[in-house]
């Protein structure tokens, strides 16, 4: 029997895990993107986020994806990631617990809509959020300023 393919997910996160993941990236500019396999605009922007990561990796940008798909959708998540081969790590939000606790831990202005992204500077300070698709060109200009600001 063939061995199961290794997971393409870097792990699962709850609210505390999310904060730790951001803290681990201190020193980098971080763009966290929340997505789900069923979210059409999320799927549409995925390739552009990969390209954004590739263009700015050397300068210190780290894109992190977090799937909010439920546990029953894990296979769909793995299939999606296997097909898209993103240039950034992806986690899945842990299924247990109150959605609201997680949403508020990310940003209290977030209403839970997807896609949703959060930009952090090198010190780990939240700079801004994006509700809906990330406006890549404008966001990249802002990201490059953050990357240049040591």
């Amino acid at each position: 029997m063939p061995a199961a393919a290794p997971s393409r997910l870097a792990g699962e996160l709850d609210a505390a895990g999310f904060r730790e993941a951001i803290a681990r990236e201190k020193g980098h500019v971080v763009l966290v993107n929340f997505w789900a396999t069923w979210c059409v605009p999320c799927r549409e922007e995925f390739p552009s986020l990969s390209r954004l990561q590739e263009r700015n990796r050397a300068a210190g940008l780290r894109v992190v994806g977090i799937s909010t798909d439920f546990a029953s959708q894990k296979a769909a998540v793995e299939k999606f990631l296997a097909g898209r081969r993103p240039a950034f790590p992806n986690y899945r939000k842990k299924s247990e617990g109150d959605d609201q606790d997680f949403i508020d831990a990310v940003d209290e202005s977030w209403g839970g809509e997807l896609p949703f992204s959060v930009l952090y500077d090198r010190s780990g300070k939240k700079v801004r959020t994006f509700s809906g698709k990330v406006p890549i060109a404008a966001a990249e200009r802002e990201i490059r300023k953050l990357l240049a600001a040591f």
Binding site: A36, W38, C39, V40, P41, T68, F70, S72, D98, D99, Q100, I103, D104, W110, G111, G112, E113, L114, P115, R128, T129, F130, S131, G132, P135, A138, A139, R141, E142
Partner: protein, 192 residues
């Protein structure tokens, strides 16, 4: 970059990343009144409906969003159950990507008999700062907002907290609503 262009770029970036033009009404404050036409061409006025019901539940819904569709059965059941208690459920489709014909077909296929309205240019969604589908608002007969947020904590877990039902039951029996504002994941409203 010249200062003016930098400022303009920042303003445009803020506009692009902002989902709505108004802040959400606060719990206990007046819910924005609105008038729309139902998909079967009847006029609807929130203030008129509120005065003649124990409560009005305004639901921002979608024909295509899996999260909204996961609640199709619950929406139908809640609307039917609470109709006898004087509560009116209404659905508002603010998505530019979903037309009235789709909304009508969706309602028919899911047995939704509550009024459904398209929201041209997502004006009502903007008034309520509605961000996702589904997202619900409970309005009392005085037009005040009593509950805002989700239907249940987790649509995959039947035992999860039925927040909307709890809010309605508390309100209808004169008890304080324990959780007046809740959040859950959903699909962004596809605005113009």
């Amino acid at each position: 970059m010249r200062p003016f262009r930098a400022i303009l770029a920042l303003v445009l970036l803020c506009a692009a990343s902002s989902a709505s033009t108004a802040e959400a009404p606060a719990i206990g404050a007046a819910a924005p009144d609105f008038q729309l036409t139902t998909v079967d061409r009847k006029p609807f006025s929130l203030s008129t409906a509120a005065k003649s019901h124990k409560a009005v539940v305004v639901m921002f819904i979608s024909t295509q969003c899996p999260y909204s569709n996961a609640y199709n059965e619950q929406m139908k059941n809640l609307a039917n159950t609470y109709a006898s208690k004087g509560v009116l459920f209404v659905g508002i489709n603010s998505n530019k990507t979903e037309d009235a014909a789709a909304a009508i077909a969706h309602a028919k296929s899911h047995g939704h008999t509550f009024p459904i309205m398209k929201d041209p240019d997502n004006k009502v969604a903007d008034l309520y700062d509605a961000r996702r589908t589904p997202e619900v608002y409970v309005i009392d007969p005085q037009g005040k907002l009593r509950y805002h947020g989700r239907i249940t904590e987790d649509h995959e877990n039947p035992a999860s907290s039925p927040d909307l039902k709890n809010a309605l039951d508390s309100f209808l029996t004169g008890k304080p609503i324990a959780r007046t504002e809740t959040k859950a994941f959903g699909c962004t409203i596809k605005r113009v």
